[in-house]
Amino acid sequence: MIGRDILGIEDLSRSDIELILETAKQMQEVGRREVKKVPTLRGRTLINLFFEPSTRTQTSFEIAGKRLSADVVNFSVSSSSLSKRETLLDTAKTLDAMDPDVVVVRHSVAGVPHRLAEVLQAPVINAGDGAHEHPSQALLDMLTVIEEKGRIEGLTVAIIGDIAHSRVARSNIYGFTKLGAEVRVAGPPTMLPADVESLGVKAYTNLREAIEGADVVMALRIQMERLEGACFPSVREYAATFGIDREKLRYAKEDAIVMHPGPVNRGVELAHELTDHRPSVILDQVRNGVALRMALLYLVAGRPRQDDPASHASVATDLDAKRGGR
């Protein structure tokens, strides 16, 4: 997977996902040592290119890189290319000239990492592009579920909230369905995107029906600044209809876990009592985030080498040649 872009869960096969999760499991152990550092990516450069501010994700990638001994450089670009009069292409070419080994990109508009990846020789990891995808988040969510439940196949996962504007929702939908879970989405009709069931999920506008018998209840963050009054009339009404508390959780399975990508709007998506204690696994998600991102960096950082005799592709060709193309 060296040199491969991680732009979305949509482009990952089931075995790709399984490899990443397996690797992340081993990386968890590094986080439990006293010296949380291995020399694996020593001398490699990781550039965090964040057009949209994000302390959590950026810090998580930074810690992940540093634990692998990489040199981490943070570029915070606060304005869009339009106002800077610098095109995305120019930004990409400038970065490419600095020879990074991996570039992590977050942007408020979908598709930006894809365009950058076309120009950058280094692999690009999408840390969130608009409402499109956030693959490392979904992967760490899947890792957390496997830790708790032992598997994903056959589980019922309910994702609640502003599905229409959520990249976390989309990536999780792709990821959990690929690994064989039944995924449900629920939210006010104004927050369910057009034809959402074409993604392979069942859509609900009733929270209780969505949560009934669920193994995993994932609450999404409501961006109140953007939406109040437009997509839903008030925070109060949202909390009453789609907020999750112990009372409503009783419809889910008894051993259901509660997840949230963070930060939580306490009392809105999740009641206070569910945020800090079991069955919430929110802090495990954060912890797994570093291990997961270490796994991604380990697997993709660097540029694929055409002439490498150790690479699987060229070995296969040699063998074929020796066996007369059989």
């Binding site: 949509e10 869009s80 290319s81 339009l82 009069r85 095109t87 995305l88 292409l89 942007h107 508009v109 979908a110 598709g111 930006v112 894809h114 365009r115 592009d129 608009g130 409402a131 499109h132 995808e133 229409a164 504007h165 990249r167 989309r170 995107p193 057009a194 034809d195 959402v196 074409s198 993604l199």
Partner: protein, 431 residues
């Protein structure tokens, strides 16, 4: 007495219902006649290489960006791209800088075109001042200055009372009002069709309802006022239903469709290529099918490119920041010939929708090879393959989703007013 004889081709003239191997004789810039026994004496001969001989194509919807935005295109480069694409006449939209809302701008465009453009340029003037949708323009004066129609294209007149008066007044100027029908509030931030693709990509969607609502409104106003309403770039099956019903009721409504809406669906945006961002957006497969049928049936009268050049630096930005639009003049013929190859249109009906019908709608001389008509003739080979590279095209801009593709259907030569202005081997020759 300059004579030109075009021979060795299949002559297609929808105005005379001719589809037969025939020659065409031109003298002093006009058609002398078509037939098989035309006199050779004194005539220069042009060999059609077995291809089609057709009346010059007419694009009734293009953005040529002059005055004011010449960095993306101007009348010279746009006119050149046009003749290379088989277009002998181009109607250019008014959203220039300054807007073509005053006879002085109309005259400026005509003057410049006369000097610089190998294709004949027909300006479309704005329907309201500065395209603001509030005060109508001096339509009579603009018509006299040379405008062939009125349109706020790029914008929609949201105030229905203004739209009503614009349509009503247009009858005095005796020219159609061309509308870009889109309820901009309903469209909101939408950049691609609202549907499974926008959901998958997480990009804001623009629902077909935004187009259909405005078309419904404008049809009712056309009925009320008796004006000639022409709907630009129809994109949805629902819109077609509205248009069909209106025509059955006798409303004077005509419609056009673009090459991209006839051949591309929203799936084309899956790679986030900003060259696929267009207004109205690319829609679903069902919409595409309905558009093709409507064009074949005649509910949609013409094809038009909506040629919309943008500089590379304007397009190489985030998808939501990129201005909508793609090039069209140089690729329209090859792209839309697919409809002939897939039997939606016969060759004659195809040419009718690119030449005879636009001439009729805009009351232009053209779209015909009848004796006495201006000698605007195009020779084309519908089966010739070629690779289109927008970086090496005649347009100043490069924003085309077809760049790099092998297309089938090539213009061999373009003649405007009897003069050869483009030849596929010799390039562009100014008229």
């Amino acid at each position: 007495m300059a004579r030109l004889l075009i021979r060795n081709g299949r002559l297609l003239d929808p105005s005379q219902e001719i589809d037969a191997p025939m020659d065409c004789l031109i003298e002093d810039g006009r058609i002398l006649g078509v037939g098989n026994e035309l006199p050779l004496e004194g005539a220069e001969v042009l060999d059609a290489e077995g291809g089609w001989i057709v009346p010059g194509l007419i694009d009734m919807h293009a953005h040529l960006r002059e005055p004011g935005q010449e960095y993306k295109e101007d009348l010279a480069s746009g006119g050149t791209a046009a003749v290379a694409g088989g277009f002998t006449q181009v109607a250019c939209m008014a959203n220039t800088d300054p807007v073509n809302d005053d006879p002085s701008v109309t005259k400026y465009i005509l003057d410049r075109a006369e000097k610089d453009s190998p294709a004949k340029i027909r300006p479309i003037a704005a329907a309201t001042r500065r395209l603001e949708g509030r005060v109508m323009t001096e339509m009579v004066a603009l018509r006299e200055a040379g405008a062939v129609a009125f349109s706020d294209d790029g914008e929609t007149i949201m105030d229905s009372s203004v739209m009503r008066r614009v349509l009503e007044y247009s009858r005095l100027a005796e020219a159609p009002v061309i509308v870009h029908a889109e309820d901009c509030q309903l469209r909101g931030l939408g950049v691609i069709n609202e549907g499974p693709v926008s959901t998958r990509l997480g990009l804001p969607g623009n629902p077909v309802a935004a187009e259909e609502i405005m078309i419904a409104r404008d049809i009712r106003l056309a009925a009320l006022t008796g004006a000639h309403l022409h709907i630009a770039h129809v994109s949805s099956a629902g819109s077609i239903g509205l248009i069909r019903r209106a025509r059955e009721e006798g409303v004077r409504v005509t419609a056009e469709v673009t090459p991209h809406h006839l051949t591309m669906t929203a799936e084309a945006t899956m790679g986030f290529d900003t060259n696929t961002r267009v207004a109205p957006p690319l829609r679903s497969a069902a919409d595409l099918e309905a558009l093709r049928n409507a064009l074949a049936e005649g509910v949609i009268d013409v094809m038009a490119t909506d040629h919309a050049p943008h500089a590379s630096y304007e397009k190489e930005v985030e998808f939501t920041e990129a201005p909508p639009g793609m090039l069209g003049l140089e690729t329209a013929l090859a792209v839309t010939l697919e409809l002939v190859r897939e039997n939606f249109l016969t060759p004659l009906e195809f040419i009718r929708r690119w030449s005879t019908n636009p001439a009729h709608l805009l009351e232009l001389e053209g779209g015909s090879l009848a004796a006495g008509c201006p000698a605007d003739v195009v020779l084309l080979d519908p089966d010739r393959e070629w690779t289109y590279d927008s970086a090496r095209g005649f347009s100043k801009s490069r924003n085309s989703p077809w760049s790099g593709q092998t297309l089938t259907g090539r213009v061999l030569a373009t003649i405007v007013d009897g003069r050869l202005v483009y030849h596929h081997e010799r390039g562009v020759l100014m008229r």
